[in-house]
Amino acid sequence: MRALVVTLVAVVVMAGSAVAVAQRADTSASTRARMITALTTATSPDDCGCTAATRAKDRVANRATAEASTNTKIVP
């Protein structure tokens, strides 16, 4: 009898854990999906987001050009 109770408890617990993990995974996926949807609707497709990106490209190009033209390392 005791063995049966223990087995039942174990089965219930394991099932509960599996459900919990599945629910958590589902929550993560749905939360992420909601987040991406929110970002998509909050960000215009025409927003290039390119201001800092443009600076980054120019920055590297300029430093490389400066080094090449002077043939010396620019020290910080």
Partner: protein, 404 residues
């Protein structure tokens, strides 16, 4: 006896497991297996609270810190990178245990989507207009400013875009103006009131001789400043956006092009193709000091309506498993030495102000950009480029101007 003990132990163990499973199902924390996205999502739920945070770097796992930043700000040797930005962290107690690894942003919107999709960065480097989007998406968490020894050296005006719901989410690092560089030997403001003004873009004496950055929101901001004077150009009514669009369309009649690389507009300027162009500080500096400009009176406009100010900096990912060490890496970027190096290497200003001027090697840059004059960096002399509102109307109006 042993059997009874075993059963009790088993029941106690399974009971604890059930409780843990219940907590997990209810969205409790504690997950060694959660990926970046789910952690970010969980963090997102928590970040609205402005409760003080207290990270402990010593108890965090030894693993690399991933920095998601712009090209030119990694640890690569100069000229490709900026080792001076991270040196204090690299030389510190966690530099070897949690070394920095770098990945580069393509642009702000791409970075948002990438992290939202589960890319597990610890530190990210967005700019002012996007901080709110990172926060709203639950992708970042409040900074533990107690781990930033030089935090007080950052002016409140620069901290403001990152102050959300009473907590700071953004450490300003690289900042600068957006304004017009012009040839004062060829351009005068007599037809637009006699003082430096964004209205110069409407003066048809310079038709085909001006150039502007290809950013839809900025195009509306330039026009809004011309229309409304010294008022925040990042917040407009629908009617004001419509009016700004009309003004921007008039400006376009004098515009040679909307540039997508500052290097291109610098070249256009020094080769005599244009007399006026929107630039960041380094663009002005390159034009002013270009051999072809020798003897010319090149000015960086301080318009009566005010310049624009961009503020980029570092945020802490909600998914970070080493938030304390990430804060220490941010602290390295916030030192006066790193701030001075930003100016000497890139001609930008730094978020850090205290003790920086003394360390800047090229003192001419201090004068040229008013680095020792805080008033020049605050309204009404300069308007921080935070998230424009209403966002979609701004972008749509600016894009219509570009496409017209």
């Amino acid at each position: 006896m042993d059997a009874r003990m075993n059963r009790q132990g088993f029941i106690a163990l399974t009971g604890a497991t059930t409780l843990a499973a219940f907590l997990a199902a209810c969205g409790g924390s504690s997950s060694g297996d959660s990926d970046a996205g789910s952690s970010a999502a969980a963090g997102g739920g928590d970040t609205s609270a402005a409760a003080p945070v207290g990270f402990d770097p010593a108890t965090e796992p030894d693993a690399p810190l991933l920095v998601f930043t712009w090209s030119g700000y990694d640890e690569s040797p100069v000229p490709d990178g900026a080792p001076w930005m991270w040196q204090e962290y690299t030389d510190g107690p966690y530099g070897a245990k949690s070394p920095l690894k770098f990945t580069f942003l393509d642009d702000d919107t791409q970075a948002l989507a990438k992290v939202a999709s589960g890319f597990a960065a610890d530190i990210i480097h967005p700019c002012g207009g996007y901080i709110q989007k990172w926060k709203e998406a639950g992708l970042i968490q409040p900074l533990d400013v107690a781990l930033l020894p030089d935090w007080d050296g950052v002016p409140e005006s620069l901290k403001a875009p990152g102050l959300i719901d009473g907590a700071y989410y953004h450490l300003p690092f690289d900042v600068g103006f957006t304004s017009l560089t012009y040839d004062a030997d060829a351009v005068d403001f007599s037809k637009v009131g006699g003082e430096e003004s964004w209205k110069i873009l409407l003066d048809d004496r310079y038709k085909g001789q001006s150039s502007l950055f290809n950013g839809p929101d900025e195009i509306i901001e330039y026009a809004a400043l011309a229309n409304r004077g010294a008022k925040d150009p990042t917040v407009l009514t629908i009617e004001e956006i419509a009016a700004a669009k009309e003004t921007a369309l008039l400006m376009k009649q004098n515009v040679r092009n909307y540039w997508t690389s500052q290097n291109d507009t610098v070249n256009d300027f020094v080769n005599g193709n244009i007399l006026i162009t929107a630039t960041w500080p380094d663009g002005y500096w390159k034009i002013k000091n270009h051999p072809k400009m020798k003897g010319r009176n090149i000015q960086y406009m301080q318009p009566i309506e005010g310049r624009l100010t961009w503020i980029c900096g570092l945020v802490l990912s909600a998914a970070s498993k080493q938030p304390g060490r990430a804060m220490l890496a941010m602290a390295a970027a916030n030192t006066p030495a790193a701030g001075a190096a930003v100016t000497d290497n890139y001609q930008y200003a730094s978020g850090q102000k205290a003790g920086v001027s003394e360390l800047i090697k090229n003192k001419e840059l201090i004068t040229a950009f008013g680095l020792d004059d805080p008033a020049l960096w605050e309204p009404p002399m300069a308007w921080p480029q935070k998230a424009v509102s209403p966002y979609k109307e701004y972008i749509a109006a600016g894009q219509e101007v570009i496409n017209a």
